[in-house]
């Protein structure tokens, strides 16, 4: 049902082709991706608010949340993410296999806004100031988590396969 809600919330600037595409995606999610499994919920807003985008924080009593990707370890989600990576034109800016171009590479060990699943999730949902558009109104949480699965895999030794941990970003001078 969630999928239907975001679909109907599309604004009028959206091109008919996109609506058609989103309809396809809706069908895709409901038909295949979620067959037999519970629909992942949007991450808890309070937890997301506590997610650090950078590396530093003012000390506090609780540690930042360790937000898991609900699709962690799921190869189907990585494959769905790859489809979305093309269909939503991520591929145009970040290049096939994440080599980069108009947008930064996703295949290297530099993560300007963090490589944790929730950090990547936030970058896609919110957009980023140097030109990454916000996909908040274009994709449901399920699809964004699938993209997170695929995008993080690009930086691993086995792109296209589920990845658990990535090394921390080595440099962030981009």
């Amino acid at each position: 049902m969630k999928a239907l809600i975001w679909h109907s919330a599309k604004v009028k600037t959206v091109h008919p082709q996109l609506v058609a595409l989103l309809c396809c995606l809706t069908a895709m999610f409901t038909a295949s991706a979620f067959g037999g499994t519970a629909t992942p919920e949007s991450p808890d807003a309070k937890q997301l608010m506590e997610m650090n985008v950078g590396e530093t924080r003012i000390p506090r009593t609780s540690t930042p949340p360790n937000l898991r990707n609900p699709y962690q370890g799921d190869p189907k989600a990585v494959a769905q993410g790859q489809t979305l990576y093309s269909a939503m034109n991520c591929i145009g800016c970040h290049a096939p296999q994440g080599g980069g171009g108009m947008g930064p590479p996703l295949s290297d060990d530099v993560w300007i806004y963090g490589s944790e699943p929730a950090q990547v999730y936030l970058s896609i949902v919110q957009g980023r100031p140097n030109g990454m558009p916000s996909f908040a109104k274009a994709l449901p949480p399920e699809a964004i988590w699938q993209l997170v699965s695929y995008v993080r895999s690009l930086a691993s030794d086995s792109p296209g396969q589920p990845v658990k941990d990535l090394p921390k970003s080595k440099q962030t001078d981009k």
Binding site: T13, V14, H15, Q17, L18, L21, S86, A87, M88, N89, I91, G92, C93, A95, P96, Q97, G98, G99, G100, G101, M102, G103, P104, P105, S107, D108, V110, P129, N130, G131, M132, P133, A138, K174
Partner: protein, 594 residues
């Protein structure tokens, strides 16, 4: 139209011819200034200055330098006006004024504060190709699709006009051209499905006077009864609509991000339009007019006089935006008012600039995608084996998407009668796929991996005889020659290379006379000027980047061939020889030299 109206253009023509007395031949302007990137309206980049000669060029040394602190590609030409040099940087598009009577002392800096997000919708690095001086103002475009005019004396903003919307992927990177009281500008965004246009603004106020789109109905393309294209396939009504699947012209590209030139006698401007969108040609059956075309227009009314589509139904991102250099040539013993256009598709077009008739079109680079240009139809005869198909990898398409030559502008010398062409030697493998239009994101549908051409070098610098239709000499370079060219009355040609050389070569033979090792690779446009001390200076931006150099300026991943729309694969070794970083270099002969 009344008779008076019909006569008006003739009167204007006569007036402009006498007032400007600058025929399309290089202006005999030896005041030593540099007021527009191409030096003159004809686009020659030819300077009458001749102190620096083949005999003394070896003594050239650095007079002073200036750092911008920026790491994107520095493609702009400096301007020199009233003993002041003006520099436009890549994003954030600062304008620096440097006092030449005080060895380049900084007078002021103007900051237009373009939207940060514009960086993310610029296809090929966040470059700017320069400014123009007119009416006491320095005028240029910002990446976030504004045109600004700045008081040349004080650095105060005089006007700023918003022309496009970055939310649909529209940016501006080209250098404006000023014709009398009109500022001519165009947009970028062909990789984002942005509809192309050229606009004229009032030099006094920045107010838009007309805007001509490259696609759509004749009314919006500003095609009227005066439109007389030479070739049959360019004749007909509303071709900007009928040569597309329904409504696709609205997202069809044809952007105007290259060079504009002007013939005051004919009172016509000349400019090219860019590739159609999406790149995947299977999604847009038809000729896709008026993408990858040249237009001749009346700058006063905006109305088109003629057009020719270089690449109907473009298959390989062959934009038509390269310069149209306006010169009079003796062809088959007859004087022709010609234009020379080194087209991205790898052929050197020589045309009658009054009628649009094609006089010759000879290949200037290695080519597998086009057999030849048919002079009867004006169209390329394609190699069908190189046509991209969805899901099929097509190999060894030459030239690659950046073409036999990209934006990097040529120079023409009326002394040697040669065109000096900085260009590419690249091939590519492509796989097409279905692209979906989402406003503000890339609209491509093509996986590209380029490589250096046969012989494994990436670029050439060529001395070309446009009358004979053949090269006189060329110099092989490791990387695409992504800098502009400059030629002087002492028959010296200057250009820069991406592997950090600034070179002077003999205009007649191509023999290397001098070179200087710069801090970063060169993708800028060299200029020359006479300083307040009477000496001749040569200036060039170093600072690698642009589409070709994005692998360095954007720190792209060299292990993946598809980065920067496939350019990375041909430039994997660029990070081995240069880092990024913008510095202006100014050269002169030692002080005691006469």
């Amino acid at each position: 139209m009344s008779r008076i109206c019909r006569l008006l253009p003739v009167v204007i023509l006569a007036l402009s011819a006498t007032m400007l007395h600058a025929g399309p031949q290089p202006a005999q302007n030896i005041d030593g200034q540099w007021l527009m990137p191409a030096k003159d309206h004809a686009g020659t980049r030819y300077s009458e200055l001749n102190q620096i000669t083949a005999g003394n060029v070896k003594q050239l040394q650095v007079a002073w330098t200036f750092s911008t602190g920026l790491t994107a590609g520095h493609e702009a030409a400096p301007l020199v006006v009233n003993n002041t040099m003006y520099l436009v940087t890549p994003y954030p598009n600062y304008l620096y004024a440097l006092d030449l009577s005080k060895n380049g002392e900084l007078k002021w800096t103007y900051k237009p504060n373009p939207a940060r997000a514009s960086q993310g919708v610029a296809c090929c690095d966040v470059v700017n190709r320069g400014s123009v001086y007119a009416d006491g103002k320095i005028i240029y475009n910002t990446l976030d699709a504004h045109t600004v005019a700045v008081d040349a004396g004080t650095g105060k903003e005089m006007w700023k006009t918003r022309l496009g919307d970055i939310n649909i992927g529209e940016t501006m990177t080209m250098a404006p051209l000023v014709v009398r009281d009109k500022v001519l500008v165009g947009n970028s965004g062909g990789e984002m499905g942005v509809r192309g246009w050229i606009a004229a603004l009032d030099v006094k106020t920045g107010k838009q006077l007309w805007r001509a789109f490259s696609t759509g109905p004749d009314k919006e393309v500003m095609i009227g009864t005066d439109f007389k294209p030479f070739y049959k396939s360019d004749q007909g009504r509303d071709l900007g609509v009928t040569t597309w699947p329904p409504d696709q012209w609205k997202t069809g590209g044809g952007n105007v991000w290259g060079w504009i030139t002007y013939d005051p006698e004919a009172n016509l401007i000349y400019y090219g339009t860019a590739n159609p969108g999406p790149w995947n040609p299977e999604q847009r059956p038809g000729d896709n007019k008026w993408t990858s075309s040249v237009f001749a227009r009346n700058p006063d009314t905006g109305m088109a006089k003629w057009a020719l589509q270089y690449n109907p139904h473009d298959l390989h991102d062959y934009d038509g935006v390269n310069e149209h250099v306006l010169v009079d040539l003796y062809i088959k013993g007859k004087k022709r008012k010609a234009l020379i256009h080194p087209e991205r598709n790898g052929f050197m077009y020589v045309m009658d600039r009054l009628t649009g008739e094609l006089l010759s079109a000879e290949p200037f680079v290695y080519n597998t995608s086009i057999h030849h240009i048919d002079l009867q139809t004006g169209k390329p005869v394609l190699n069908p084996e190189k046509e991209p198909k969805e899901g099929v990898k097509v190999n060894d398409i030459c030239p690659a998407s950046p073409g036999g030559k990209d934006w990097q502008p040529s120079a023409y010398s009326p002394r040697t009668r040669l065109l000096y062409v900085p260009h590419n030697h690249l091939c590519m493998d492509v796989t097409a796929s279905k692209a979906s239009y989402i406003a503000g994101t890339p609209y491509l549908g093509m996986q590209v991996a380029m490589d250096k051409g046969p012989g494994k070098y990436g670029g050439l610098f060529t001395g070309w005889d446009p009358v004979a239709g053949k090269k006189v000499w060329d110099i092989k370079e490791r990387f695409p020659v992504w800098s502009g060219a400059l030629v002087t009355a002492a028959d010296i040609v200057f250009y820069g290379t991406m592997d950090r050389w600034f070179k002077a070569v003999d205009a007649k033979t191509g023999k290397e006379l001098w070179k200087f090792r710069t801090g970063s690779g060169i993708v800028g446009q060299p200029i020359t000027y006479r300083g307040p001390d009477g000496r001749q200076y040569v200036a060039i931006f170093g600072g690698v980047g642009g589409w070709a150099g994005a692998v360095v300026s954007g720190k792209l991943d060299t292990s993946i061939p598809f980065g920067a729309l496939g350019f990375v694969n041909a430039m994997k070794d660029l990070p081995d020889v240069t880092g990024p970083g913008g510095t202006l270099y100014v050269f002169a002969l030692p002080d005691r030299q006469p």
